[in-house]
């Protein structure tokens, strides 16, 4: 057998990350390259592992609520909603209507904020620096509403089990309407900057194609699945928190490539504004907290509740043994499962496309590693 040298080997192994700025955090990807072509990828995750699920086993149900905000920190409100709904199902209580409508408004605002961050970072990765500054500016307005509502901007801890802790503040409706009015023309501006731009189209169209069968095989959910043409949105499929009352469309794409995912997410922001406008019109009067005991001791049993987080299906599986703390708490994070399709999409692409593909998955490493 002849001795192989470095020069003979056709495959080059290259490390991308964990400090690479385009990996959106601390994701390490081992790329196998043939020239510029990617022959295979391997993700190394766990650099941001904090053992959130284990922490959940050592905290009471109320005490764990602030920790879920720290998984997907771009969409902390959605995380909190999923957790609260799961524990409420375990306790067999429902939040009062006023709380449910307020929850929908805040969650949809958070979806827009999360998509704005995605848009800015995705564009930055591809080389368009300008949109990042604009989306941060608009996101600021949404975060200001969170700050005025619950006192925190990013890790909000906005919802409590059984409803809300804070009553909505005096000018809440006006502020939300003002943000909606502000955002629609701004989204049109991002369209002008990017959608028709030939560099943007050249970098995105036909890159990272994942068709509907592959999406289902990998368990990919959220905008990635919808971009492949599957009309699946948990807000429509299994409505929670009163989503069945609102009239909105599920945007879908055709090809399942990166450009379709971009258009789907842009349209989702507009649909979120539509939901917020409907919700803010009719916030019912009444209590904001259901009658639940101070010390929560859910009955023995297990429950799985999933919601449509900005990144996909976010599920909470809680096993209760009748004590004040969960026996087991498992989170189904959308980013973690969507990330598994990276290898399928990146195979055969170029290194520069890998950056575009990571951007389009919209991962948050806090959620991947938990």
């Amino acid at each position: 057998m002849p001795e192989t040298t470095f020069l003979d080997s056709s495959e080059l192994v290259l490390n991308m990350g964990p400090q690479h700025p385009s990996t959106h955090g601390v994701l390490r990807i081992i790329l196998k390259l043939d020239g510029e072509k990617v022959m295979g990828t391997e993700c190394v995750i766990g650099y941001l592992h904090r053992g959130v699920e284990k922490i959940g086993e050592n905290r009471t149900y109320q005490q764990f609520a602030p920790y879920v905000d720290r998984m997907d920190y771009c969409a902390a409100v959605s995380n909190g909603l999923g957790y609260c709904l799961a524990v409420e199902k375990l306790l067999n209580v429902q939040a009062p209507p006023r709380a449910q409508v307020s929850r929908v408004i805040l969650t949809e605002l958070n979806r827009i904020a999360s998509h704005l961050i995605w848009l800015g970072t995705h564009a930055l990765d591809i080389g368009a620096i300008t949109p990042l500054f604009y989306v941060m500016r608009e996101r600021e307005e949404i975060l200001n509403i969170f700050e005025r509502y619950c006192g925190a901007r990013l890790t909000t801890h906005a919802f409590r089990i059984g409803g809300l802790q804070y009553e909505i503040y005096d000018n809440f409706e006006q502020d939300v309407k003002a943000v909606c009015d502000l955002l629609l023309p701004k989204i049109r501006e991002y369209d002008e900057l990017l959608t028709e731009n030939r560099i943007w189209m050249g970098r995105l169209q036909g890159i990272g194609v994942l068709n509907a069968e592959d999406c289902k095989a990998y368990g990919v959910t959220g905008p990635m699945l919808r971009a492949a043409g599957v009309k699946w949105d948990l807000r429509k499929a299994q409505p929670y928190s009163g989503y069945e009352q609102y009239d909105f469309e599920i945007p879908t794409g055709k090809n399942g490539d990166t450009y379709d995912r971009y258009t789907v997410r842009m349209e989702e922001m507009r649909q979120s504004i539509r939901i917020i406008r409907q919700a803010v019109e009719g916030i019912p009067e009444g209590p904001i907290m259901a009658r639940i005991p101070k010390v929560l001791k859910p009955p023995v049993g297990e429950v799985y509740v999933s919601i449509e987080a900005p990144k996909g299906e976010l599920g909470y599986f809680i096993v209760s043994d009748g004590s004040t703390q969960p026996y087991r708490l498992r989170v189904r994070p959308p980013s973690f499962i969507n990330l598994q399709s990276l290898d399928r999409m990146a195979r055969g692409a170029l290194i520069a496309d890998v950056v575009a593909i990571i951007g389009t998955i919209d991962i948050v490493l806090g959620e991947v590693d938990r």
Partner: protein, 151 residues
């Protein structure tokens, strides 16, 4: 034909550049000159904790019930109390709060039955030592004193 003309005259790029140059006007400058001009945080902002005192007689409002320490997910509050034999009531002796581990979730504030513990609008809590992050009762009552710079 229209698409061809758009390609020739780089219309798509020009549209984007129009947006960019539109925001070059000084009217749209958003920079906050932080130490000189302080941001006005919201009324409900969850910042530095404060142990409220009764403004009339300067006594603490805390009844040493220990509910905040039980509510805290990080177990960072320590409440010490002593029974006063004359009035037969519990009196607060020590109260420490570890800022370095606090995540400002607001659960202690919600748990307090007498509104003694409160998260305030102060957000400048840096210190040079780790010990400086563990606030005792006096520090909690006075609040942080960040340096104010003159410009």
């Amino acid at each position: 034909m229209r698409k061809f003309l758009r390609t020739i005259f780089l219309i798509d790029l020009m549209e984007g550049l129009r947006v960019t140059f539109h925001y070059q006007r000084p009217k749209y400058i958003y920079t906050e000159q932080y130490p000189a001009e302080r941001p006005k945080v919201a009324e409900r902002f969850r910042g530095a904790p404060r142990l409220n005192i009764n403004p009339d007689n300067g006594e603490t409002l805390c009844i040493a019930c220990n509910l905040c320490a039980l509510a805290c997910p990080e177990n960072l509050i320590v409440v010490g109390s002593e029974r006063n034999e004359q009035t037969r009531r519990k009196e607060l002796t020590i109260f420490t709060y570890d800022i370095s581990r606090c995540m400002f979730c607001g659960l202690c504030e919600d748990a307090c039955p007498v509104d003694a513990l409160e998260l305030t609008q102060d957000f400048e809590m840096a210190s040079y030592t780790r010990e400086g992050q563990i606030w005792d009762r006096q520090m909690l009552e006075e609040g942080p004193r960040p340096t104010r710079y003159k410009y």
